[in-house]
C-alpha cells in the first residue's frame, strides 16, 4: 500500500528566494507525522507547497496520484485540509458560517451530525455558535480552524503550529483534543511545530528540517531519545 502522502525531491520558492531544496518525506495512512525545525527552516512552506500555495518543483503524490501543479481548491477537494498559520479565520463571519464553509464542498447529508461531533470535541464552539468569529480568543479560533478543517472530511490534515501564541494550559487542552481526534477520526496528520517535545510526544514519525533540507528522519520516539539530536537541533 502506498503512503498517503509522498513528496519526492520537493523544491519551493517565493519569487527568486528558494526555500525548500529537495525534500523527500512520506506521511503514512492513519498516522501522525511531525515536521520540526527552527524559525525559517521551511516548515510552513512545506505545508503550503503540498496545498499548491507556492511555486514548487518535484513530485507530490496523494494516495499515489500526483497533485503538484493543481489549484489549491482542487487539492483541498481531493481530501487535504490545511489549518494554516494564523488560523485563517473568517473574522467577519459567525462561528456557524465558518463551520458551514468547512463543509462547503460536501454533498452528503451528514453535516449536522458532524457539527455535533465537533461540539463534542470543542464545546466552546457551541457556546459561541452565533458569535462573530473575530471576537473569539486565540485558542477558540484555533479550535474553530481545526473544526473547519475536519468538516471537510479530509484524508490528510495539515496542522501549522497549533500551539502558536497560546498560553501553555490552552496548548495542553488543544493537544489533548488532537489526540482524541487522532484516535476517533479516520484522518492522517502532518503536524508542523516549533515546540518539539510536544510534537514528538504526539507523532509516530518525525522529520527535522534545517534551512530547507531534511537533516534527520525517523521514529518520533527514537528522535526524542537521541540526546545529540535533541541538543543540537531541538534545544531542550
Amino acid at each position: 500500500m502506498p503512503a498517503l502522502l509522498e513528496a519526492k525531491d520537493l523544491h519551493a520558492a517565493y519569487g527568486e528566494t528558494k526555500v525548500l531544496h529537495g525534500l523527500d518525506f512520506t506521511v503514512e495512512e492513519g498516522g501522525v507525522t511531525a515536521l520540526l525545525g527552527a524559525n525559517g527552516a521551511g516548515k510552513t512552506t512545506t505545508l503550503r507547497a503540498i496545498c499548491g500555495m507556492v511555486r514548487t518543483s518535484g513530485q507530490i503524490l496523494l494516495g499515489g496520484e500526483p497533485i503538484q501543479g493543481s489549484a489549491t481548491e482542487d487539492i483541498v477537494r481531493r481530501g487535504v485540509a490545511h489549518v494554516p498559520d494564523g488560523r485563517g479565520t473568517f473574522m467577519e463571519l459567525t462561528v456557524e458560517e465558518n463551520m458551514r464553509l468547512g463543509s462547503y464542498t460536501r454533498r452528503d447529508t451528514n453535516v449536522a451530525a458532524d457539527f455535533d461531533r465537533m461540539f463534542g470535541y470543542f464545546p466552546r464552539l457551541k457556546e459561541r455558535f452565533r458569535q462573530q468569529a473575530g471576537t473569539l480568543s486565540g485558542g477558540e479560533q484555533q479550535m474553530l480552524a481545526i473544526a473547519r478543517a475536519l468538516l471537510l472530511r479530509p484524508r490528510l490534515l495539515l496542522l501549522d503550529e497549533p500551539s502558536f501564541g497560546l498560553a501553555p494550559l490552552i496548548v495542553q487542552d488543544i493537544f489533548a483534543i488532537l489526540r482524541r481526534i487522532r484516535d476517533s477520526e479516520r484522518v492522517s496528520v502532518l503536524l508542523v511545530e516549533q515546540n518539539a517535545s510536544l510534537a514528538l510526544a504526539f507523532a509516530e514519525d518525525a522529520y527535522l528540517l534545517e534551512t530547507g533540507r531534511i537533516v534527520v528522519a525517523g521514529k518520533a520516539a527514537d528522535i526524542s531519545r537521541d540526546e545529540s539530536i535533541r541538543r543540537s537541533y531541538l534545544g531542550y
Binding site: 481548491e73 490545511h82 485563517g88 473568517f90 467577519e92 463571519l93 458560517e97 464553509l101 464542498t105
Partner: protein
C-alpha cells in the same frame, strides 16, 4: 405639507435606484477593493438590450428577465477577460481599466444604439397612486428594487453559494483552503452586480429617458450613497442610497433648486470623506504594521 410628503416619497423611489447601484458598487468593492466606475455604463448598455428586445416584440417582463440573464453573462465575461488579469496589478492600472471600461461601454452604447434620446416603456399603470402622492411607475419601481434588494440579501445570508461568495471576497486564501473556487465566485459577483444594475437601468429609464449617458449622474448619487452608508457595508450602502434619494429630492425642491441637484451628490461625497471617511455603517480597516 402635502408637497413635502410627495417629495419624500418620490425621493424614496429614486433612492431605490441609487440603493441598487450602490449595492452593485459595494459588491464589487468588497471583492476587488476598487470602485467599478463602469457600473453605470454597464447598466445603460443593459437597458438598451432591454429596449431592443421590447422593440423586437417581446412582452415587457420577458424582455426584462432576458436582459437580467444577458447582463449577468456579460458581467461574468468582463470579469474573466478584463478584470482577472488586474488581480495583482498596481491600483492605478486597475483604475485605468475601470475608467477605460466606462468610456468603451459608453461609446459602444452610442455606436450600437445611436445617441438620440429614447423613450423607455414602463410596465406599470400611469395614473397616480396612494391618493396622488406617487405615480404608478414610482410605486412599481420601488417595489421592484425592494424585491431585488431583499432577494440579494436572502441569497447572501441563507444560501451556501452566497456564503461562499462572501467568504471568497473577505478572505480568498482561507476560502481556497475550504475548496471554494474563488475566481468563479468573483466572476459571479460581477454577474450579479451587472444584473442588479440592469434592474436599476430599466426602472429609471422611463423617468429620465434613455441615452448613452443616462446613468452617469445616477452613478454619482449611488457612489455618494455607498460612501454615506459605508463602502464596505452592503446594508449601509442601500440605506445610504435611499437617504441620498430623499436628500436630493428635498434639497432640489426647497434649497438649491433642480440646477444644483447633482452638486448635492458631490457635497455629500466630500462631506462624508471629510467627517467620517468610513461612512455611517462602515468599519475602519486596520492593518498591522
Amino acid at each position: 405639507m402635502e408637497g413635502l410628503i410627495h417629495q419624500v416619497i418620490s425621493g424614496i423611489a429614486t433612492g431605490g435606484i441609487y440603493a441598487s447601484v450602490a449595492l452593485a458598487l459595494v459588491m464589487i468593492y468588497q471583492a476587488t477593493h476598487h470602485i467599478n466606475f463602469a457600473q453605470g455604463e454597464m447598466a445603460t448598455f443593459s437597458t438598451y438590450i432591454a429596449l431592443t428586445l421590447i422593440n423586437f416584440g417581446l412582452p415587457y417582463w420577458v424582455a426584462f428577465f432576458a436582459t437580467l440573464v444577458i447582463s449577468f453573462v456579460l458581467g461574468v465575461v468582463i470579469e474573466r477577460v478584463l478584470i482577472r488579469p488586474m488581480t495583482n496589478a498596481p491600483v492605478l492600472s486597475a483604475v485605468g481599466v475601470f475608467v477605460g471600461l466606462l468610456l468603451i461601454i459608453n461609446s459602444l452604447s452610442g455606436w450600437f444604439f445611436d445617441y438620440t434620446i429614447k423613450q423607455f416603456p414602463t410596465p406599470f399603470p400611469s395614473q397616480p397612486m396612494m391618493g396622488g402622492y406617487i405615480s404608478g411607475h414610482e410605486l412599481g419601481s420601488t417595489g421592484v428594487t425592494l424585491a431585488v434588494l431583499i432577494a440579494v440579501y436572502l441569497f447572501f445570508r441563507h444560501t451556501s453559494l452566497g456564503l461562499a461568495m462572501r467568504a471568497a471576497a473577505l478572505n480568498p486564501v482561507s476560502a481556497r483552503l475550504v475548496g471554494i473556487r474563488v475566481g468563479w465566485m468573483l466572476a459571479l459577483g460581477w454577474g450579479l452586480a451587472a444584473a442588479i444594475g440592469a434592474v436599476a437601468g430599466c426602472m429609471v429609464a422611463p423617468i429620465v429617458f434613455l441615452d448613452p449617458n443616462m446613468m452617469s449622474g445616477i452613478l454619482l448619487y449611488a457612489f455618494a450613497g455607498a460612501l454615506l452608508g459605508g463602502i464596505d457595508s452592503p446594508l449601509g450602502a442601500v440605506l445610504g442610497g435611499f437617504a441620498v434619494g430623499v436628500i436630493e429630492n428635498l434639497g432640489g425642491a426647497y434649497i438649491v433648486g433642480t440646477e444644483l441637484k447633482l452638486t448635492l451628490a458631490l457635497v455629500i461625497i466630500v462631506a462624508v470623506l471629510t467627517v467620517k471617511p468610513t461612512g455611517l455603517m462602515g468599519r475602519a480597516v486596520q492593518s498591522r504594521v
